[in-house]
């Protein structure tokens, strides 16, 4: 630009130009929250939200968040349903990429190993992607390129610890627990289980863990496993911790079928709508004692907005500190006592309200999930 102005005669036009340039530089330099550095055309760009399936409430929430953000920004949205299969998910993502538009993508990967393939394809399509929850630990965004804008998640270890504290509290420090992890090849599941076990080992020696039965995030498999555990241990079981509410729902059904629901305590992660209902109604003699709060719509909105900012040029990924590219966002512990604080996030219009706050304060500083850390979670005791 300087070169151009050198050729123009020194006059008001040139000064005006220079002032505009300075003003623009100041505006971008002031950081986020100002007008986008570059408006994205809906013909050229497309927002993509890829979820593991479309029947899990968390995933449905992911889609809602993406819709709210896409509406706010005026860009078209495509939804990718992986149908619980890495193959299908990647296939469908590729199909969208082949359609010729550049993607701004949020992916909730089926398996960690999906991440490199998807990121690579997005790069070749000239797009930007944020991955949530699962990726290979050694696969770092700053080693890959700007198109891999960020990897984001809520810490699993704190989730496990929340659940452990709630159960231990409800059992007064003495009792026997069974665990239902999720898909085994999932760092999400592994970190949560590690957090639970660490909390018990460090602070609640009176609690014994009877057995672990991975249930693939699936309510049916959890129900079957719970049934088998009930037969195996009978009323020895005092509590059940599941890595995710989907499995807890199945497990609770099995305990109810066996007539044991009132005697057993449950804790899990996610505060699904059904779980919320059960806590409020006091189902099973207040069976659910602990949960964690985070919402799918928040995750997808934050992830998509991060990628969006990279696409507009408002943030330059290679200039971001590592904790903003491999990020841990705040997770809240919920008990029947403080559940009232969280009801506002499920009211109609909550996703749109969240998106307004998000665009105003940026992806790393929006309530109720500010950035709290970064990097690979260290498993306690490892």
């Amino acid at each position: 630009m300087c070169e151009k102005t050198a050729h123009l005669p020194l006059n008001r036009t040139r000064r005006a130009l220079g002032m505009t340039v300075m003003a623009a530089a100041l505006a971008t330099g002031l950081g986020l929250g100002s007008a986008s550095a570059q408006e994205l055309s809906p013909d050229e760009w497309v927002m993509v939200v890829s979820v593991i399936n479309t029947t899990n409430p968390y995933m449905i929430s992911n889609i809602e968040g993406a819709k709210a953000l896409a509406d706010h920004l005026g860009l078209p949205l495509e939804v990718v349903n992986s149908n619980n299969s890495s193959q299908e998910g990647i296939s469908n993502i590729m199909a969208i990429l082949a359609s010729g538009r550049k993607p701004i993508m949020f992916v909730n990967t089926v398996s960690s190993s999906d991440a490199p393939t998807i990121v690579d394809a997005v790069g070749r399509a000239g797009g930007y992607v944020t991955i949530w929850w699962n990726k290979p630990d050694d696969y770092k965004p700053w080693n890959v390129g700007d198109h891999f804008v960020a990897f984001q998640k809520h810490p699993g270890v704190s989730s496990g610890r929340c659940g452990a504290q709630a159960i231990a509290g409800a059992l007064d420090g003495e009792g026997e627990v069974v665990l239902l992890p999720g898909v085994q090849d999932s760092t999400t599941s592994q970190t949560r289980v590690a957090g639970f076990r660490a909390e018990i080992a460090e602070n609640f020696p009176g609690i014994t863990i009877l057995e672990e039965r991975p249930s693939n995030w699936d309510p049916q498999i959890a129900a079957r496993n719970a049934q088998d555990l009930i037969v195996k241990y009978g009323d020895q079981i005092d509590a059940v911790w599941s890595a995710d509410d989907a499995m807890q729902i199945g497990a609770m059904q099995a305990f109810e079928n066996a007539g044991l629901l009132n005697q057993v305590k449950f804790a899990s992660d996610g505060l699904y709508p059904k779980t919320l209902e059960d806590i409020q109604s006091g189902r099973g003699n207040n069976a659910i004692v602990g949960e964690t709060f985070h919402r799918g719509y928040m995750a997808s909105a934050v992830g998509l907005y991060t990628a969006y900012l990279a696409a507009t040029g408002e943030i330059v990924p290679s200039e971001l500190p590592e904790d903003k590219r491999e990020s841990l966002f705040d997770l809240s512990c919920v008990t029947p006592d403080n559940i009232g604080d969280y009801l506002q996030y499920d009211e109609p219009g909550a996703p749109a309200a969240f998106v307004d706050r998000l665009v105003e304060s940026g992806p790393w500083d929006v309530a109720p999930m500010p950035l709290v850390g970064g990097g690979v979670e260290v498993l306690p005791g490892s």
Binding site: V79, N81, N83, S86, S91, M94, S113, T117, Q184, D185
Partner: protein, 331 residues
């Protein structure tokens, strides 16, 4: 060439002169697979030409490569009248093993794994038992082997990655090398089936096994060979998958290729009861199966309707390409 296997082949082939041969070539089931693929391509191009851009083509080909390799292995086994349900699991195990030893052993690792999967394939055929049931069992065993060897973790390729990823990153005419490799394999197979005694005997076995046995065709050995080929191609498919994914996992990409592989073989005109296989058409079968998700996307079908449309598509496509000569019993 008065080969005994020739006598067993369709009598019309021998009896008719060259003109008859040509008319047989032009018959429905030989033309159908490429035709169906071309129609689908054309329809999608009308909806959105971008799908046929260099990027789009390379995506289809990269997805089709492992499917094609598995389908070729499957077609070989189908040709002798059996079925291999475990070839995708073999391929998955191969991917994991490869990811584990590649950083340490490089090229020799690749050869070792290929040898291993070939042996697995051969063992499957050794007992003279119905292949559907047997390979269903080996499927379970191999799945567990995959889980156990990977310790339920994702194995991310660090060192020596370029040895395999070149298959994916090098393009010849917009299409990755892995696909051309698969096409080369298809050509080799086609030649083997047409011109070698072993190949013709396999086809004869598929058409009428009892008669083949009575004519002294080494049925047992050929069956073992067919399964060994399926195992070997499963390993090569594992290579192609690893090249694209850069990491291996028991639940990740490559763990759900069994049904697409079989569908690709069937769409490519392979008969499920044996004796009818054209590896060149299997290429189009694999391309078609790989292309269906894109066609669905181009149609603008919502995320939730995808399964429904996929089911309809599969039935339609195979209905159009399946062999319907008189007297053949379709099961």
């Amino acid at each position: 060439m008065t080969d005994h296997s020739e006598i067993l082949m369709n009598r019309t082939t021998l009896a008719k002169p060259l003109g008859g041969r040509l008319s047989r070539l032009a018959s429905g089931h030989v033309i159908a697979p490429p035709l169906v693929f071309a129609v689908m391509l054309g329809a999608v191009w009308l909806l959105n030409p971008n799908y046929l851009s260099p990027f789009g083509i390379s995506i289809v080909a990269a997805t089709a490569a492992p499917i094609l390799l598995l389908a070729l292995g499957q077609a070989t086994v189908l040709n002798v009248g059996s079925i291999d349900l475990s070839n995708a699991a073999t391929s998955l195990l191969g991917t994991i093993l490869l990811a584990m030893i590649l950083p340490g052993y490089g090229f020799w690792g690749i050869l070792a794994i290929l040898a291993l999967v070939t042996v697995i394939g051969a063992i499957v055929a050794y007992a003279q038992v119905p292949s559907f049931a047997l390979t269903l069992g080996t499927l379970g065993v191999l799945q567990t082997a995959a889980l156990v060897t990977s310790d339920s973790q994702t194995i991310y390729l660090g060192a020596n990655r370029e040895l395999v990823s070149t298959l994916y990153t090098t393009n010849v005419g917009f299409v990755p090398l892995s696909f051309w490799l698969a096409v080369a394999v298809a050509l080799v197979f086609w030649a083997a089936l047409q011109f070698t005694r072993a190949g013709q005997s396999m086809t004869a076995m598929g058409k009428n096994e009892t008669a083949a046995i009575l004519s002294g065709v080494p049925v047992r050995g050929l069956r073992i060979a067919a399964f060994a080929v399926s195992g070997f191609l499963g390993g090569v498919a594992g290579l192609a998958i690893l090249a694209q994914a850069g990491s291996a996992s028991a639940s990740g990409i490559g763990s759900a290729l069994l049904l697409p592989g079989i569908a690709a073989a069937l769409v490519g005109g392979a008969s499920i009861s044996g004796g009818q296989t054209n590896p060149l058409n299997v290429i189009f079968g694999a391309l078609t199966v790989a292309f269906v998700p894109m066609a669905i996307q181009a149609l603008g079908v919502g995320a939730q309707s995808q399964s429904l449309v996929y089911g309809l598509f599969i039935i339609l496509v195979v209905a159009l390409t399946t062999t319907r000569s008189r007297g053949i019993v379709i099961k």
